[in-house]
Structure formats: structure tokens, C-alpha cells
Symmetry: C2
């Protein structure tokens, strides 16, 4: 995974170097803060890596990569307001540290800064890169809207869920790869293929998150198991369970979803018992595997050197066979 | 003003025609609603008019014009959340009609839609148009931040106020003209000149608003006089008054600004009396005239046909000598 790891490192430093704080301070301080919170810098790393795969050097994609990271952090900022979140990366969210107006307006400014960074690409690909970027940005909003819509529904299907996470998280990973590829001179075919690779990885990654929340090892996972169960979060596991449950199991599940007062561990144990009865763990792993295998199949078809195919394969397996 | 009037008409229809509503409905309904509220469509009209002045036809600037109107309405939507406004064009604001999350997210989507429309310009000017648009968008955010900063300060100067309204409102009018000019093939010199014309018109327009709120004729103005005084809004008039007042006048003003219980008309009369003692009405009109004269001077320098210079002059005088 040498190339991708190299760009994860690079992206971390570049992000902090490129952004120049300005007046008024109250507009830009929250932006500094959010960027300074860090993060894996996955999207910019994938963008520059894809550029590298097709041209030998990811540098030409650096501005666009930073733009994608800035855009990603803008979505987190506004999502945190809408979710009334208190913490982001173990630090207070912007609307708590400052106030809600600051979070709204600084978020808006971040979106604009991201778009400015996305302008810094070769003229030959400017329009197509902007087109993909803006279409993706809109899809992320649509995904967030579906996610909010689902909160008040009790009939969300597995397919609807997968469509939502495709929009809310997978398309940005896919676009990061495609934009990098285009800046690197990839053919349309290869650019579209690497986009599909990103979609499959993104979906597998989210299913992995859902799975680990229930079945991950708390020691390695670093946080308490079952948070999604406790909060009734509509994950693949819960939705698959609702779909497959018989009437008795449906009643049991309904009881726990609607219970006002409950012992946390008791609820987790009860729901996990239902999952185990229905083979949900295996189902989830199988679904992840489907996306993973598709991602591997796509890698083979890419017009890139063998060493770069290997880098993508290592990245895919490292992402999907992590225990935390 | 034939050309500009023609495009005001055109912009109104084009705005509703161009935008295609989509799923999810909860993301796009608030956007439909905001666009449907109407408005003068000033910015798109100026954009297409400027294009017409330099090329004979404003059609090529229609997409960008619609983008500017979509962007303008996005700023109104987010500003209304931050100001806790209840009404917009005599209708409930989006955060009241739906909820705050909808207002935040639909606003984000509007900003993205606006940027997509701004891509639909000739390739030769794509990068420069995008650059001006995004820089302007950022300046509007900065203006809004300064406006919010000023709320909690009691030492705001007239110059700071003028800088703030330049960013918050004038730059978008200026950019609308400049972008239209560029699409119409104007030289850099003419594009920059028409931008400066827009800045001066924008500043004059805001000062006019401030003036009419106190000295406008309620019959023609259509709303109660003195709303800004009652709400202690920091306008040119109030700030100029604070700057020129002697200690006794300062005390009187301070009393009324801090009065918790007061008779509305009594407060208005008292503050207007102070304004009259200090010649604030004349000062405001003189300041407006300075910007207006500069705008006229710039029109003369533009490389456009006489009939179009006349159209701009008529527009400027109509805007600035309105009584409501």
C-alpha cells in the first residue's frame, strides 16, 4: 500500500499548509479548528493516489485533493448541527464551542473554499472535474436528506438503506478517486471504473462499520459494543433482521426498539440474540464480501501497472478486514 | 431602461422554467418554495443586461444569471436562520414552514445548484467566471460575519459599516454585472469598470434603504417608518449620529438605545430629532450622491453604445431616486 500510505501522510501535512487563515477571525477560526481536528485524510489520499496511478505523480491533484477534504469536513460540520452532535473526534463540535450561527456560516465558507481549491486543476479537465465534484456534492446532500427522512419511518428497506449510504458516503470516495484519475490523464473508461471501485469500497466500508459496532472486539475496537443497537440506529443489521424476522421475533424486536427504560446490556444481548437466530452476522459479512469481490474484479480491469493494482488490493483488504 | 426591464421580465420566467424539482422531495421542496417567493430578480437581470451591452444579446449569460439568483436566495435562506427571521416576502421562512435542518440542508443544495448553473458558460471564460463567483460568494459570507460581529459592539464606525455592506450586498451586484460582461466578451478594463459601477450602485442602494426607513413617505413606502430606529439597527444614520453627537446628544441616544420599555413613536421622534439636529438626513443624501455620481462617471468610461449607457443611467437614477 506504499503509494496510498505515502499520500495519506502527504495529505495530512498539505491540508494544514495550504489553508491560510484570514479576517474576519470569527468566520475562519472555526474552519481552522475543524481542519486541525485531523482525520484519516482518506479522500485526498485516494485522489492523489489515483492521479499517481495514471501519471506517475500525484502532485497535480493536490489542490483538488485538499478541496475534497475541505468539502468532506464542511459536510461533517453541517451534519453535526443537524444531528445535535456534541463531539467530533473527541473535541466539542463547532456549534457548541462557538454557536450555531458560526457553524452554519463557517460551513458555508468551507464549501466555497473547497470549490475554489477544485478550480486549481489543469484546464483540459476543469469542466469535467467541476461537474463530477458538484454532482457528488449534491448527492451527498440527498443522502443526508434520506438519512434524516428514515429517522421517522419504521418501514425502511435494506435496499433503501444501501441507496442512502451510497449517496451519503460512497459517492465522495468514488469521486475522489475519479477526479484524481482524470487529473492524471486516465481514459474515460478507467475513470469510470475507478469510480465504481470507490462505490463498492465505500459501501463495504459502511457495512463493516455497522458490523463492527455489534460484533467487533471491544479491546481492539476501542469503544463499547452495541451503540447502534442502544440508539436504534437503522443499520444493515437491524434492517435485515426486520426483513427476515418471523412474527414472534418481530414482536421481540419491536419491544426493544420502543422500550423507554432499559438496561443497556440487556437490550444489546436481546437484540444480538435475535441477530444470531437469523444469521445476521453471516449475512452482513456476505454482503460486504459481495462489494469487496466486485471491487477486486474492477481493479483487474484498470489500465494501470501491476504494482498499483496491488496497492489498491492491499488498501481494499486492509480497509475491509480491519478489526477496528 | 428598456434592456434592463426586458431582462427583469425574462429572468422572472427563466428562473422558474430552468429549475427542475427532484427527489428527495424534502430536500427540493424548500428550494421550490424559496424560488417561487419571487423577488425583483435584479442580479440575473443585471447579468444578462451586461452581456447584452457587450454582445448584443444576453441569452448566453442566462445560466450564469440564474446561478447568481439561486446563490442570492441561498444566502437569504441561511441568513434568515441566523437572524431568526419569521417572514420572507410576506411568507413564513423555511425554518418555520419546515424546520431548521431543512433550511440548512436545502440551503447547501441551493449553493451547489447555483455553482452548477455557473458552469454553463463559454469555455473561454469558465475559469475567470468561476473565480469571480467564488471569491464573491466568500466575500458575502465575510460581510454576513461582520454584520453579526457588529451586533454585540457599540463602537462600530461609519467606515466599518460601509465595508460591511460592500461585502454583504454590493459585491454580488457588482459580480453579476462583471460576469455578464465577461460572458458578453467585454475587455478586462470594461469588466472591471462595470464591477466598480455595481459596487457604487450597491452602496448607494443600501444607504437609500437606510434613509427611507427614517425619512421615506409611509404612504408610498408601504411600511411603517422607523423600524430600524426601534430595533437599534446600526445603519449609516445611527452610526453617523453617534460619530457627530456632542456629549449631551450621546447621552440622549444612549438612553433610547438601552430603553427596555418605550413607546415606539416616542423613541422614533426622539431619535429623529437628534438626527435633525445633526443634519443626518442631508449627510446621508450627500453620501448616496457621492456613490451615485461615481457610478455615473464610470458609465461614461464604459466601451458600450450610447443607448446602453443611457439604460444604465436610467437604472441608477430609478434605483436611487425611488421613494419606496
Amino acid at each position: 500500500m506504499g503509494v496510498i500510505e505515502q499520500y495519506i501522510q502527504h495529505a495530512g501535512e498539505a491540508m494544514l499548509r495550504r489553508y491560510q487563515p484570514r479576517e474576519p477571525r470569527l468566520l475562519y477560526d472555526p474552519i481552522d479548528y475543524v481542519i486541525g481536528l485531523g482525520g484519516k485524510r482518506l479522500r485526498p489520499a485516494l485522489c492523489m493516489s489515483a492521479c499517481h496511478f495514471f501519471s506517475g505523480d500525484g502532485k497535480a491533484a493536490e489542490a483538488a485533493a485538499m478541496g475534497l477534504e475541505m468539502f468532506h469536513n464542511f459536510t461533517l460540520l453541517h451534519d453535526d448541527i443537524m444531528d445535535h452532535a456534541t463531539m467530533r473526534r473527541n473535541q466539542p463540535t463547532v456549534h457548541l464551542k462557538w454557536n450555531e450561527n458560526a457553524a452554519i456560516l463557517s460551513g458555508d465558507a468551507m464549501m466555497i473554499l473547497a470549490s475554489q481549491m477544485m478550480l486549481d486543476v489543469p484546464d483540459t479537465v476543469l469542466k469535467t472535474v467541476q461537474t463530477i465534484y458538484l454532482q457528488t456534492a449534491l448527492e451527498v446532500c440527498e443522502g443526508q436528506q434520506y438519512d434524516m427522512d428514515f429517522e421517522t419511518r419504521d418501514d425502511v428497506t435494506v435496499d433503501e438503506y444501501l441507496s442512502m449510504i451510497r449517496l451519503k458516503t460512497a459517492v465522495l470516495i468514488a469521486a475522489s478517486l475519479k477526479i484524481g484519475a482524470m487529473i492524471g490523464g486516465a481514459s474515460s473508461r478507467d475513470a469510470d471504473l475507478i469510480y465504481q471501485f470507490g462505490i463498492n469500497i465505500g459501501l463495504a466500508f459502511q457495512l463493516q462499520d455497522d458490523y463492527l459496532d455489534v460484533y467487533g472486539d471491544p479491546e481492539t475496537f476501542g469503544k463499547r459494543i452495541g451503540g447502534d443497537i442502544v440508539s436504534n440506529k437503522k443499520t444493515f443489521l437491524l434492517l435485515a433482521c426486520q426483513k427476515l424476522a418471523n412474527s414472534e421475533q418481530k414482536e421481540k424486536l419491536k419491544y426493544w426498539l420502543h422500550a423507554a427504560d432499559f438496561d443497556r446490556q440487556e437490550k444489546i444481548d436481546a437484540v444480538v440474540a435475535l441477530y444470531d437466530q437469523l444469521g445476521i452476522a453471516v449475512l452482513s459479512k456476505e454482503k460486504m464480501e459481495t462489494y469487496y469481490m466486485e471491487a477486486l474484479r474492477i481493479i483487474e480491469m484498470l489500465g494501470i501497472e501491476l504494482q498499483y493494482k496491488d496497492a489498491l488490493k492491499l488498501f481494499a483488504s486492509h480497509t475491509l478486514f480491519r478489526t477496528k
